[in-house]
């Protein structure tokens, strides 16, 4: 039973990852983006700035993985009718999601790999670990929101036109690449109501990179987002029999 489930997940991941291996330039772009932001943050914030790139890249990368890459992958499966073939088969939604998700992990893993020297130089393994743990929750939220969009949108061929504007601004505008404490107090709360910045704030506080608000605030925000994404996705995601 477990072996069969693993085979199914591997099979989906195998199919879903072919394009990444055929077009590795996407992975190169992913690595170069980390390097570019590392230089930028070092120039502006020195070593403290570099520590922030670790938080930002892991949280932001996992957010984009769910809401953007998984959603686009699933959207393409809808357009190409592969999803119909997978529904009319013994494959369960969990196998499908795990497979699609596993293949899309290649992107954040490429970024993460390029961050290993940085974590080593800065001795920032605690930041990496905390970011990964918090990032799993971010990933959960983003996958469910991404799927809720792509499984319902009428023309999934254009799904990137919806998911890109959700994925990118929520990483680049709120305090993900920069700490919330640089903002004036009322703005801090407003800026931390999205899952990306709230998660980054939790990591920063736990890793000793500064305190902006009471840690309970971002924790509650993330919990509310988990709840919203579960309710939203359970209402709209269907696996056949529509």
């Amino acid at each position: 039973m477990l072996l069969e489930a693993l085979r199914k997940i591997y099979g989906i991941a195998y199919l879903a990852s072919r394009w990444i291996f055929r077009q590795p330039a996407w992975l190169v772009q992913s690595v170069l983006r980390v390097v570019g932001f590392a230089i930028l943050l070092y120039a502006w914030g020195g070593l403290e700035g570099l520590k922030n790139i670790i938080v930002a890249w892991i949280i932001g990368g996992l957010w984009s993985t769910g809401v953007n890459i998984v959603a686009q992958e699933v959207g393409w499966h809808r357009v190409s009718r592969l999803q119909d073939m997978l529904i009319a088969s013994p494959i369960r939604p969990i196998h499908y999601l795990m497979g699609s998700f596993t293949s899309s992990l290649l992107f954040p893993m490429a970024g993460l790999a390029s961050m290993i020297p940085l974590a080593f130089i800065l001795n920032a393994w605690n930041i990496v670990l905390l970011s990964l743990i918090t990032g799993i929750v971010v990933l959960l939220i983003s996958i469910m929101i991404g799927l809720a969009i792509v499984m319902r949108v009428e023309r999934p061929v254009n799904v990137s036109a919806i998911t890109n504007p959700i994925a990118w601004p929520l990483v680049i505008i709120p305090p993900v690449y920069y700490p919330a404490w640089i903002l004036p107090e009322p703005l801090r709360y407003i800026s931390l109501i999205v899952p990306t910045s709230a998660s980054a704030e939790i990591v920063r506080q736990l890793a000793g990179l500064g305190v902006s608000v009471n840690i309970l605030f971002p924790i509650i925000v993330v919990m509310i987002w988990v709840l919203i994404s579960i309710v939203l996705s359970s209402r709209v995601i269907r696996w056949g029999l529509e």
């Binding site: 099979g11 989906i12 394009w19 073939m85 529904i87 088969s89 494959i91």
Partner: protein, 297 residues
């Protein structure tokens, strides 16, 4: 036990548009049943309901005795679907497509590779198996999609217009593969609007028109429901003869199809209306469809 039972299946969407109105038929195991009808007749909706993609608004469907709604996971263990407009990813090779699809269904790598090899030979894709789908012809891509489904060896296979867009040679390869598949124990439900294809490969034909099954049976029994045996196609160059009242004559403007009980009767009728004969032949499934659906209306 029947492999597939469709009993008064209907799909009416919330906006009132119908996908199927009343579809009932049964299929025997190890056979090819063809759902035949024009575009928009309800063939694809019927297949999508039986393949558990759509929930019927009315009626029920059984696959090997399992209800398509109540026992959905039991049904899904036993079926495979080749959708009408499936597009195999251009970044895959045929090898990856078939092997990956089988693995996704729970097959081990070794078994998946062995089965993939078998179907590449069967569908004459062996030489292109490691070429990117992007570099294959439209017909080869379609055959890759068919190979993905046939390789599953599922008990019941749904193929929605698997030969549309294929040339004659491509169709022949698919037909041969389908007939081979049922010998190994699978049951196939296939849709097409190609009457010739249905005549060649079906064990049973189900005529669908406007969301309703109008007739079903073997090809010869459907043809025998038409009270004529021959048809003569004649020129109607003067375009002066109007025969809309006579159900023996199908008016195509500058041509007429005349149905008759015998060749002599057909020729006599052509002579009577002073028209030049183009061809004389026995009636086919196409004529049965036109007759039984009141000329496709």
């Amino acid at each position: 036990m029947e492999a597939i039972v469709a009993n008064e299946l209907a799909k009416i969407y919330p906006n009132g548009v119908w996908g199927a109105i009343n579809v009932s038929f049964v299929t025997s195991p190890r056979s090819i049943t063809v759902l035949l009808g024009p575009n928009g007749a309800g063939k694809t909706t019927t297949v999508r309901m039986l393949a558990t993609l759509l929930k019927p608004t009315k009626g029920y469907g059984l696959i090997l005795g399992y209800d398509i709604v109540r026992d959905v996971w039991e049904v899904r263990k036993r079926i495979a679907l080749c959708p009408q407009d499936v597009s195999v990813d251009i970044n895959w090779t045929p090898w990856e497509a078939v092997k990956g699809f089988l693995m996704a269904r729970g097959w081990g790598i070794g078994d998946a590779e062995r089965e993939a090899m078998r179907w590449f030979e069967e569908l004459e894709l062996w030489d292109v198996r490691k070429r990117l789908v992007a570099h294959l012809s439209g017909g080869q891509r379609k055959r890759v999609a068919v190979a993905m489904v046939l390789a599953t060896n599922a008990d019941v296979l749904f193929l929605d217009e698997p030969t549309s867009g294929l040339d004659v040679a491509g169709k022949y390869k698919v037909w041969k593969a389908l007939r081979t598949t049922i010998k190994s124990g699978s049951t196939i439900l296939l849709t097409t609007h190609d009457m010739g294809e249905a005549e060649i490969i079906s064990d049973k034909v189900v005529f669908v028109s406007k969301g309703v099954v109008v007739a079903e049976g073997k090809v010869e029994s459907l043809i025998s429901k038409v009270p004529y045996t021959y048809k003569v196609i004649v020129k109607n160059t003067k375009n002066r003869i109007k025969h809309s009242e006579d159900d023996r004559i199908l008016d195509l403007g500058d041509r007429l199809i005349i149905y008759a009980k015998s060749k002599e009767e057909a020729l006599a009728l052509a002579s009577e209306i002073n028209a030049e004969t183009i061809s004389i032949s026995k009636i086919s499934l196409e004529d049965a469809y036109l007759y039984l659906t009141k000329r496709g209306e």
